[in-house]
Amino acid sequence: MLTEQQITQFHTFGFLILRNGLNAKEIQKLNVEFETKLTRTTGGKSKNKEERMSWPSLGPDTPFTSALLESPSVTGIVSSLFGDDYFGISCNASSLCGETNWHPDADNLHMKGLKVLCYLQPLNGNSGALRVIPGSHINALHDDIKSVQMDEPEHDGLTQVALVSNSKSGFKIEEIPATICSVNPGDLLVFDFRLWHASKGGSNDRRMISMIFIKNAKTPEEEIAVNESVLKSQKNRAHRAKAAFGKRNEQVSEYHPNWVANLGNNPRRQRWINWLREKKYF
């Protein structure tokens, strides 16, 4: 559970870093599962080219990572911020490379969702740590940022949730004033979907576990925002999964049948499954 001050910090700045949210043993388990999956995917060769890879981690081959989505270490954070009326949407592992332009994950300010990130390597401003613009999850700042001319390098287009003024003479990623979220393995970084964020620098194999949660919509405006976000994220994840695994005949379904079967009859998971089915995730 979060303290009252941490909750205020999240709602004010749009993000929160929880130091040592996971312990060394838990990080070790995540690393083993990550390495196994990556090695199998790359056929035993080390990943040395600039390729972003991302895969769902809700299957039996990554049991510890899969369980993280429902572990008290994570759900306690989400419950503190959203109450109990929320849905766990995904638990993905990614091997990141290159830089990511400034973007929010949601441009509709009625959207109530968050990501919980756990990086498996130490990261700072020079090595690909997440950069965030504090307070940019709310207006006026959220929309004003679109008027700042930015020099956006070529990218896959998947992060273009909100259009910015793109100009070769604009500000580079590192020139936009931001907080650099330096982290160590075990730290949990929680951020609002609407927060502007980016990254710069780092290796071609920055390892990250990301979990997504969405608060149940309470108003028609929130419902519209959720549906927009669902559509966008479905497209993005399908695209990335296909890009990373399609040629290798790996299963690309986000939700493994075992997870959907919910053999343990977990009522919370069943509620999430029902909602995901209603939203046509599977």
Partner: protein
């Protein structure tokens, strides 16, 4: 001249940084002029100096009118590299709102310079020239981008509790209620999310005085900067009341500025006494 992108940056984030506006040779002259003024002030004109560091930093001084009193520094106020930028950010008819030279101050907790309802609707800008290189942990100005605008601005006002109580280090004996009061986000001031304006001599920052800013970790006696303050042309009674509330001295400009041969300098002050008279009514 301010480019469209720079204006958008200022309006969005509440500040604008220009790198290496002044050459090393120019900075040498600026530093020399400032040092002369400081030494004179500390030895012969102590009334012009405020000791601003309290018990924690007794040597920290703030020297008022440093730019007005030293012609070599006055030139900064009319230099096109500063003046034209201000014209772009504040519009024509902007006014002079004072100057100061500070040195030796180690840290300043989170605050904005012009607290109060609707104060952020009236743009006032402070221009800082740092005399030594600064980094985040050695005296750089930290700002919270976008915090000059509502409602983000208001959501940060609890940070002012710490500043008002002039207590930069939280006493561990204080009870939990005090900690919540002084640390509204659960973080020490040094850990509040921000952008640090790391600078070298010659760099200049223009910032909206409603922007939340702070300094943590200084350079001891070596940390020095010169600041000039400006405000948009006051056009309403509310603007005049805002000036009166925070900086009534603006209405009584320094005589060297009133008698200046420079049209730019005179233009920034010549109507202020009349506005001051209006305030006194």
């Amino acid at each position: 001249m301010v480019e469209k992108g720079q204006l958008a940056h200022f309006e969005t984030f509440g500040f604008l940084v220009l790198r290496q506006v002044f050459s090393p040779e120019e900075m040498k002259d600026i530093i020399g002029a400032a040092d002369e003024m400081w030494e004179t002030a500390l030895t012969t004109n102590k009334k012009s100096v405020s000791f601003v560091g309290g018990e924690k930093d007794p040597g920290a001084t703030s020297f008022r009118y440093i730019v007005e009193r030293q012609p070599r520094l006055t030139k900064l106020a009319e230099d096109s590299r500063i003046y034209d930028v201000l014209k772009g950010l504040l519009g024509s008819g902007f006014i002079w709102a004072g100057s100061e030279g500070q040195r030796g101050r180690v840290s300043t907790s989170w605050h904005n310079d012009r607290p109060g309802k609707n104060q952020n609707k009236y743009t006032r800008i402070k221009v800082h020239f740092y005399i030594e290189p600064t980094t985040k942990t050695t005296g750089a100005l930290r700002v919270i981008p976008g915090s000059h605008r509502s409602p983000f601005h208001e959501s940060l006002e609890p940070l002012m509790n710490h500043h008002i109580e002039n207590n930069d280090s939280i006493n561990s004996d204080k009870n939990e209620i005090d900690r919540v009061h002084l640390l509204p986000f659960g973080e020490e001031g040094a850990d509040i999310p921000c952008f640090a304006f790391e600078s070298n001599p010659g760099d200049v920052i223009f910032f909206h005085q409603n922007l939340f800013h702070a300094v943590y970790g200084g350079l001891g006696e070596g940390r020095r900067y010169i600041a000039m303050k400006f405000a948009a042309q006051p056009t309403t009674d509310e603007h005049i009341q805002f000036i009166k509330a925070h900086t009534e001295y603006v209405f009584h400009p320094h005589e060297d500025f009133l008698n200046s041969n420079s049209p730019r300098i005179r233009g920034m002050v010549e109507n202020l006494e009349a506005l001051g008279a209006k305030v006194l009514k």
